[in-house]
Amino acid sequence: MTLLTDATRTQIRDLMARYPQPRSALGPALEAAQQQLGYIPEQAMDEVAMLFGLDAAEVRAFVGFYHMLHEHAPGTYHVEVCTNVPCMLRGAGLCAEQLKQTLGVDYHQTTADGLFTLDEMECLGSCGTAPMVAVTKRQANWMRYYEQLDSPQRIGAMLDELRSLADLPPEQLPVPERCVPGEQPSGGPYHHGHHADTDTLLARIDLPDSHTLAVYEANGGYAVARAALADQAPAAVLDTVKAAGLRGRGGAGFPAGMKWSFLPAGSYPRYLVVNCDESEPGTFKDRLIVEYDPHLLIEGIILACHAIESEHAFIYIRGEYFFAAQRLQQAIDEARAKGYLGKGIFGTGKTLEITVHRGAGAYICGEETALLSSLEGYRGHPRLKPPFPAVEGLYRKPTIVNNVETISQVVAIVRNGAAWYRQWGSEKSPGFALYALSGQVKRPGVYQLPYNTTLRQLIYEYGGGTIDDMPIKSIIPGGLSMPHLGVDKLDTPMDFESIAAAGSSLGSCGIMVVCEGVNIVQLARRTMGFYREESCGKCTPCREGGTWIEKILERIEAGEGQVQDLDLIERLTWPIERQSFCPFGAASVWGVRSLLKLFRGDFEAYIAQTNPAGEGPVLPVRPIYRPDTGEPAPNLRV
């Protein structure tokens, strides 16, 4: 008896045909199996392995890596509550408690009626609308974000709605747009703003049906790409982007035009991979573009692919961005139907295919080489560099990996020219960026601002200041991975160089505001917990060191800390930063180390208060040194 139906098998074969190498479809195929079965039992893994010609061990290894693939069946609804720092700062703890009490279950448990399985989750890209949960309906191909769950009423309204939807067939479920329970309207783009002169990226998103091709074109869409493909050589487009000094928006800030110029001459095919894995806690800017202006991204892709002479682009979108992926696919289908994608786009001889590839839940896949591993159908482990992706990337072909915002920016740059772009920002960080503001501010959201805008301007002018006008304790200026800055750095301009000079990094422009009153030990522990959870496990320092630091912080939080633990944590951060395989290692410890540096007094006070005797931990004695030949029965476990 096979588990997978013929329909699922056909679907999987179709998925395999979408990629230059079928193995890339492994994740989507497992997702298809999960849609049919509700989870992925071992037999299903075996059957999928057969379809792909893989060893079952490879499939199980893949499943085990990605959080969205389940080896055990969840309830009808998988309710995942984000407790990561941006949500935590806005009451995720209360939200989670409320859910536990209302449902009568703890994390990893399912309600008696089988309706709800509750789990703790890492950042889902709703930091401006925190706290939030992501709800997945089993076998319904439906996943929705419920946001701003800051009251028992909203949580209750959400659960009521879910109960009312429980028996509906999948096609009658509501559009899975983000939802603030009990509010009308409940969806639409979340809060955003811009500097008066720089409204290029978010200009359309408030228009009704902004995501459609009709609206996009009515507002000047595709004109730039159409003109460029007709009139400009690839090198001309590349030169424009290079001259504009457009810096990558994924976190490293590497100049995009320069990256494009690293492609080895005469080597084809080349691929463009758009990184929409937006998983850095505190970062939620790409989601806004993809959900409400997907054609902007598509036009950017057309221009970028023209510049780098690629005929196949992939958009790697994190699996949790379910609605965004739907919108993106709809937009691609529309553009394709109009002849803007596919063969002979805009009536030129150009060909361009865009494949949307959904991730399956792994932060590390935002790292470009891990992303490529994942896109090829492997566990998302980072790869050795060199060779760099531009030389040997996807399927070992020259590949450019750029962030959604980076590619989206290309449209305005090509339209208006490099000089136009350079009138904002600084010499080394020209132009403008989308800043995602979250944490304890009045108006969290996404703001398009020039690079020289200061933190103070963002927080007070655009963000409306802190909640209840509490004093600021620290600011994370570039996503959770970046070091905290003290309140004395409020007047730092938010460009790569100035933030670096202040002792942190601009990263992905996710700015989180932490106010006085936050428990710093808890903040540090939760920060480290994220990196322990998301470490891929490939290299020793990150795998072992991160866990170690988290264990120490947990112990301190539990009242068994000693002052010397703080020195130990600090010491351990250095080798993790210095010696890890990929930048994840460094990112995992910067936050904690900066907290120790800025607020050592807070840690010491906490320890003094919770462990006044200063006693160390009591460890059980282990192991027993006796050769135990009592092996399991000769038959292997099944």
């Binding site: 199980r60 890596f65 320092p541 795998r543 170690w548 250095w574 210095r578 010696q579």
Partner: protein, 874 residues
């Protein structure tokens, strides 16, 4: 000369090969042993463990890099001994040790553990880790042979990478992620790669342990003997670890020419026979037919053997005595056995299974690792995955790294048929038509015609193939593949050149090789450990040592001079003929050394029962020994110095590693030389009594050997190809004999028209062709003694194609009878997609099912026809 560049390590300049990994360059040029865990010279760089950290100058800024992934280039500067580099390595070790259980006192790896060694040399000396360790499974079987301790594992991926990169069987993977990451297999699908045990050798900690050897040794207590494996013709180099008269463990010993760093699981795990409690420990004598075997002294037993063999030769003529050796005998044993038969008994009735019946090319392979240079590898009648797993690793490497393609011509769709290339189904007995069709199709290619038109025999071949029938698409594809190959290589197994079609098969295959342009790269894949060597030693009825035919007077005279004795000029009987002659009463006495015909079915048993006198020299009381009049206890390869000649004619040493003080068993060479001395003394005595004796009298001094090396010294004189191969000269890695030095006649380099043998009659009564297949883990004498063998070997069954099973309305597992004109077997049916329609497959050497019961002879692979019927009540 490699392109050298200058690099700097700790302010000292070194010249190193450009592009080398820094770990290798530092070791070779600077003698700096940079510590590693995940890095392994035979695996692709990974850079995961972060143990090999050094500082590198990056345009004026020093940064930490992994030496195992940096490829050196001109002007690179590194610091290995700098405080930061030292500290970085200490910190990595500190991290590795946090969750490692440190149960070294009871760990098999303790004492030879890279983690211990690196901790000693590079460890921080203390740990500040005060948290609970992460607990995982400590006794987790990943197969019947290997146990995994997930707590000891440091996630270096070596095991995973080995199975991926060498075995191409990714049966182990990383599951979960981050600190929860574990190595595991898929539930219900244990690791079954044939060389899986190598992951134990390369595991840098004690995470993977050998279930056969677990807790049976401490590395510092064992004696280590460099030896070779004797389970197949590869002759993989091994190390035998012994202690207190027991063989505790076998590990791989690197020999890049033969086995790289690897051995197969049969070689590693299946050695319990050496220590088996039922080993023969004393000579046995049966005083009268029908009586019991009783223990006897060596003097009594050898005296009796000499007396009875001499008696038989005297009374019934020397042709009434025959000897069967084995391709598992050492060179020394085979040499002395044939010398004894030829000079003392005066008979050329000398053979071994797979001997005279196989038209073997004595040269074997030119070099095993040549397979890695081929772009198309033809496997004709060979199944390396089951027969030579380490050779198969090299073939897989060629396929995966060098994009080689495989052309497989075999009765079964063997495992390697999964690779790019072509599989041509070829039933036993249909080799000639298959090869002819292939030649025919190749002749249609312009390029093939161009290069072969000048070959002699071209016109005849073309004319003969003119009427070839339309061929299958497989043949078509095979011809295209071979015709387009730049550097093809043909390997053929004994099945192709055995039995009555051997000549024709070989000639037809040689045509293919000539047309493919690889007549100098067509090699015979000898099956057993010393298949090549025993032929070199003349353990054959019609060939002398060094392959001279028995009719070669000069060769005979040379040997007679060396041996100081005369030998018969007439070729002797081969194995089949001897056993038939025994049944017919013409062969009266049989001397069996490592040969067990009674286990091969009723015919063999009948022969032994019919003979007047049977001597069996073996390790165990085999089926034949149970019928013998005298049983001589021999020792295993582990207990005697000996040499063996492998598939690429590499002569290798297998020194004594073990002795059993409670046993009187002796090495074959010693038994034979003692027998020779007894015989010589006995016949000398006899000769004085009766001048009329026609027997040739031997001289006792020509049987004086102080040790096995002395026998080898004589072999060097008897076999010119071995003349420089003394014990010392062989060293630990052996030496190949020069192909040109052999007297063997090579097949002519000409095309020839080969007619297909007539098809077997009475296809209606016997609708199937029998395929005798190989499986690595069989149930032969040596494997039966291993507790784990029963778990890993497949039980006897008859394989049938899914199509035939459906047509016969038979389901998997039903009991069936397979019958031929020779006999029948009752076995469960196994539906197997590898089995081709029209054939039934039975594996060799499975307990209770000697496939030889069915075959026309003991060595003729050419298409025994069989019938199949369901048994009632099943």
């Amino acid at each position: 000369m490699p392109d050298l560049v200058t690099i700097t390590i700790d302010d000292v300049e070194y010249k190193v090969p450009n592009g080398a990994l820094l770990t290798d360059a530092a070791r070779q040029a600077a003698g700096i042993d940079i510590p590693v865990f995940c890095s392994h010279p035979k695996l692709d760089p990974l850079g995961a463990c972060r143990m090999c950290l050094v500082e590198q100058d990056m345009r004026g800024r020093w940064g930490i890099v992994t030496a195992c992934t940096v490829r050196v280039a001109e002007g690179m500067k590194f610091r290995y001994a700098s405080p930061l580099a030292v500290q970085a390595r200490e910190e990595t070790l500190e991290f590795i040790l946090t969750n490692h259980p440190l149960d070294c006192p009871i760990c098999d790896k303790g004492g030879e553990c890279p983690l211990q060694d690196q901790t000693l040399k590079h460890g921080p000396g203390h740990s500040e880790f005060r948290e609970l360790k992460t607990h995982k499974e400590k006794r987790h079987p990943i197969s019947d042979l290997i146990l995994l301790d997930q707590e000891r594992c440091i996630i270096c991926w070596r095991c995973i990478r080995y199975l991926e990169e060498w075995e191409d069987k990714p049966q182990l993977g990383l599951y979960q992620r981050g600190n929860d990451t574990v190595v595991d297999h898929f539930p219900g699908q244990p690791v079954d790669a044939k060389t899986s045990g190598n992951i134990i050798d390369i595991c840098p900690v004690g995470a993977l342990t050998n279930r056969v050897s677990r807790f049976r040794y401490r590395p510092w207590e064992i004696e280590r003997t460099a030896s070779i494996c004797t389970h197949c013709s590869q002759g993989c180099n091994i190390r035998m670890d012994t202690r207190i008269h027991e063989l505790r463990r076998i590990v791989a010993r690197p020999n890049q020419a033969v086995n790289d760093d690897w051995i197969c699981d049969k070689g590693r795990f299946m050695h319990a026979f050496a220590d088996a409690p039922d080993r023969l420990t004393t000579p046995l004598i049966r005083d009268h037919k029908g009586g019991e075997l009783r223990p006897a002294s060596w003097n009594e037993a050898l005296g009796l053997v000499a007396q009875r063999l001499a008696f038989s030769a005297d009374i019934h003529g020397s042709q009434s005595v025959g000897a069967l050796g084995s391709a598992r005998l050492s060179n020394e044993a085979a040499y002395l056995l044939q010398k004894l038969m030829r000079t003392l008994v005066g008979s050329n009735n000398i053979d071994h299974r797979g001997g005279a019946a196989v038209l073997a090319d004595p040269r074997g392979l030119n070099a095993i690792r040549e397979v890695e240079q081929a772009d198309v590898i033809v496997l004709a009648g060979a199944d390396p995955s089951e027969e030579q797993p380490v050779l198969d690793l090299f073939i897989r490497r060629a396929v995966r790294r060098n994009k080689a393609k495989l052309l497989i011509i075999h009765p079964r769709r063997i495992e390697d048929a999964r690779y790019p290339g072509v599989y041509v189904a070829c039933k036993p007995g249909e080799e000639v038509p298959t090869f002819n069709q292939l030649s025919h199709e190749m002749l249609r290619k312009e390029a093939v015609r161009d290069r072969s038109a000048k070959l002699s025999g071209f016109a005849e071949l073309e004319a003969a193939l003119r009427n070839t029938d339309a061929v299958s698409p497989d043949i078509n594809a095979a011809a295209a593949l071979l015709a387009g190959a730049a550097r093809p290589l043909i390997l053929y197994g004994p099945a192709v050149v055995s039995g009555r079609n051997a000549e024709a098969n070989r000639a037809a295959l040689l045509n293919v090789a000539l047309l493919a342009g690889c007549a100098d790269r067509i090699w015979y894949l000898a099956p057993e450990v010393n298949s090549v060597g025993v032929r070199d030693m003349g353990l054959l009825p019609a060939a002398l040592p060094n392959h001279a035919p028995i009719s070669d007077i000069a060769a005979r005279e040379r040997l007679e001079k060396l041996w100081g004795a005369k030998m018969p000029a007439k070729a002797g009987l081969d194995m089949d003929a001897m056993l038939k002659a025994a049944v017919a009463g013409e062969l009266r006495a049989l001397y069996l050394v490592g040969s067990d015909p009674a286990a091969l079915g009723p015919q063999g048993e009948a022969a032994l029962r019919a003979a007047d006198f049977v001597v069996v020299q073996d390790l165990f009381l085999t089926a034949s020994a149970q019928l013998a009049d005298v049983v001589l206890p021999a020792v295993s390869w582990a207990e005697a110095d000996a040499t063996y000649t492998n598939v690429e004619r590499r002569v290798q040493r297998a020194p004594q590693a073990l002795n059993n003080p409670r046993s009187q068993a002796a090495p074959d060479w010693l038994i034979l030389s003692e027998l020779g001395k007894v015989w010589a003394a006995f016949t000398a005595e006899d000769a004085t009594e009766s001048k009329k004796s026609k027997r040739k009298s031997g001289e006792a001094k020509s049987w004086q050997y102080t040790n096995a090396q002395a026998v080898l010294d004589e072999i060097a004189r008897a076999v010119p190809a071995y003349d420089k191969l003394t014990w010392d000269a062989l060293g630990d890695e052996g030496r190949q004999w020069e192909a040109a030095r052999s007297a063997a006649v090579q097949p002519a380099r000409r095309l020839s028209a080969v007619a297909a043998p007539p098809a077997a009659a009475d296809r209606a009564a016997w609708p199937y062709v029998l395929v005798t297949s190989s499986q690595l883990f069989d149930e032969g004498t040596l494997l039966q003694r291993n507790a784990v063998a029963a778990q890993v070997s497949a039980s006897p069954a008859v394989g049938i194609s899914p199509d035939d099973a459906a047509r016969e309305h038979l389901t998997d597992g039903v009991t069936v009878m397979v019958a031929s004109v020779n006999g029948s077997l009752i076995l469960p049916l196994r539906i197997d997609a590898a089995v081709q329609p029209g054939t039934l497959a039975v594996a060799r050497s499975l307990a209770g099912a000697p496939v030889e019961t069915l075959t026309n002879s003991f060595s003729d692979g050419a298409g025994t026809r069989v019938s199949l019927s369901a048994q009632k009540g099943s």
